[in-house]
C-alpha cells in the first residue's frame, strides 16, 4: 500500500497580494526548500479524507477550517524519496492571513506566507510547484463563476471590498457595474438592512453572503 499523505494549498490575501502558505523544510529530502504543509493520513484517527485534511490543518497550522476543497490525487514512485510509492491527496483552503500563527514543528523550520508568483519561480520541494499551479487555476475558475472567497471577508462587507478581493485573486481588474449586476442576478449576496460602513468618503451599504439554494 502506498505512503499516503494529505497536502494543503492554503491561499490568503495579504496587503493586497495573493500568498500561499509554505513550509521551509529543515531535513532531507529537499532540505532548505519550500513545500506545501501536509501530513500523513492516519487511519486510526481520520474518519474521512476531509477529516484528515482538517486534522493536518489543525496540527500543522493550528487552525480549524470547516470547508476544504479536494482538488485531486497525485501518485507515483518518484514523488518522494522517503517511500517507494507516494500518494498525495491535495486540498485547498482559503484563510484570512491574520489567522495563522506560524509555529515551528518537527521537520519544519519556518511556516510563512509567500507571494504566489515568487513562490512558483523558486524551486519547490517534490512536485509541489505543479500542485500549487493547479490549486490556483481551480480557485480562479471558482471566482469566475462567482463561487466567491467569503472566507477572506468578515461576516459583513461592502461590495467594494468583495470586488477588491476577487481582483487580487484573479490578478485582473473587474468592471464595477458588471460585477454588481452579476452578483444581483445570481443573488449570492444580500444587503444587511440599515447597516452601513462609514469610511473616509461616502458610506457604503454592508452586505452578507447568502447561502446557496
Amino acid at each position: 500500500m502506498p505512503f499516503t499523505r494529505i497536502e494543503i494549498a492554503t491561499f490568503s490575501l495579504i496587503e493586497g497580494g495573493l500568498h500561499v502558505l509554505l513550509a521551509k523544510r529543515s531535513e532531507a529530502p529537499h532540505a532548505g526548500e519550500w513545500a506545501l504543509p501536509g501530513g500523513v493520513l492516519r487511519v486510526d484517527l481520520d474518519r474521512s479524507l476531509e477529516d484528515a485534511a482538517m486534522r493536518v490543518m489543525r496540527e500543522r497550522l493550528g487552525v480549524a477550517v470547516p470547508f476544504l476543497r479536494q482538488l485531486g490525487a497525485e501518485g507515483g514512485p518518484t514523488r518522494d524519496p522517503r517511500a517507494p510509492w507516494t500518494l498525495s491527496i491535495v486540498y485547498r483552503a482559503l484563510l484570512p492571513g491574520s489567522s495563522v500563527s506560524p509555529s515551528a514543528g518537527k521537520r519544519i523550520t519556518t511556516l510563512a506566507w509567500r507571494n504566489v508568483t515568487d513562490a512558483i519561480e523558486d524551486p519547490l520541494a517534490f512536485d509541489h510547484a505543479r500542485l500549487i499551479e493547479r490549486a490556483l487555476r481551480q480557485t480562479r475558475e471558482d471566482v469566475e463563476r462567482l463561487d466567491l472567497p467569503f472566507e477572506w471577508l468578515p461576516g459583513t462587507f461592502t461590495l467594494g471590498e468583495l470586488q477588491a478581493t476577487c481582483e487580487a485573486l484573479l490578478g485582473a481588474r473587474l468592471d464595477k457595474s458588471s460585477f454588481r449586476r452579476r452578483l444581483a442576478d445570481r443573488g449570492c449576496v444580500e444587503p444587511v438592512p440599515g447597516a452601513m460602513r462609514g469610511g473616509a468618503f461616502r458610506p457604503a451599504q454592508l452586505y452578507r453572503c447568502r447561502p446557496a439554494v
Copy 2:
C-alpha cells in the same frame, strides 16, 4: 496505510441509451450486488495513478484506454468491510459499447452494461451509487462546455451523429443550428474534404475531431 483502490466508472451509449459498466459481485461483501469494476493499486506495477487506472481497465475489462479522467478520491473506515480503512481513486472512461467483452474473473460473476437510471435505482455495493452520480454529473458538465465524447464515435462522423451522442448523454434535446454554431465557433471539429456518408437520404459531410490548441 489505507487499502488503496482504483474504481472505474465507464459509460457507453448502447442502442441510444446511456449505460454504465458494472460488475456483479460473487463474493461477500455485497455478494449479488452490482459494483463499479476496480482493483487494488499495485505499487510494484504502477508508475502513476493514471497508469494504475489503465492497468485495472486492461485487467478487468480487457481494454486499453489511453485517456481516463480522474474524478477525485473518497476515503473512510466504513466504506469496505474487508479493510479497516479504504481509499478509492475514481476514474471515468468513455467507451463504445461494442469494445468490451465481458469476461468473468475472480470475485466477479458478471460484467454487464446497465442502463444508468436503472442502475442508480438498485442498491449498489459500497458507496458506488454516489460515485456513479458524481461521474455522471461531471461528464454532463464536460459535454455542456463542448468537451465532447469523441471516444464514442468513429474517427470520422457526421454532425448528426455527434449531436445524437451528446443528446443521449445529457438526456435532453439540443437545437441543431445552435449546436453547429457552437462547434464552428470553438473549432473543435473540422470537415474531412470530400468525404461524405451516404445513407438512406441526403449524404452528410464527414467531420473529424480537431485536437485542442
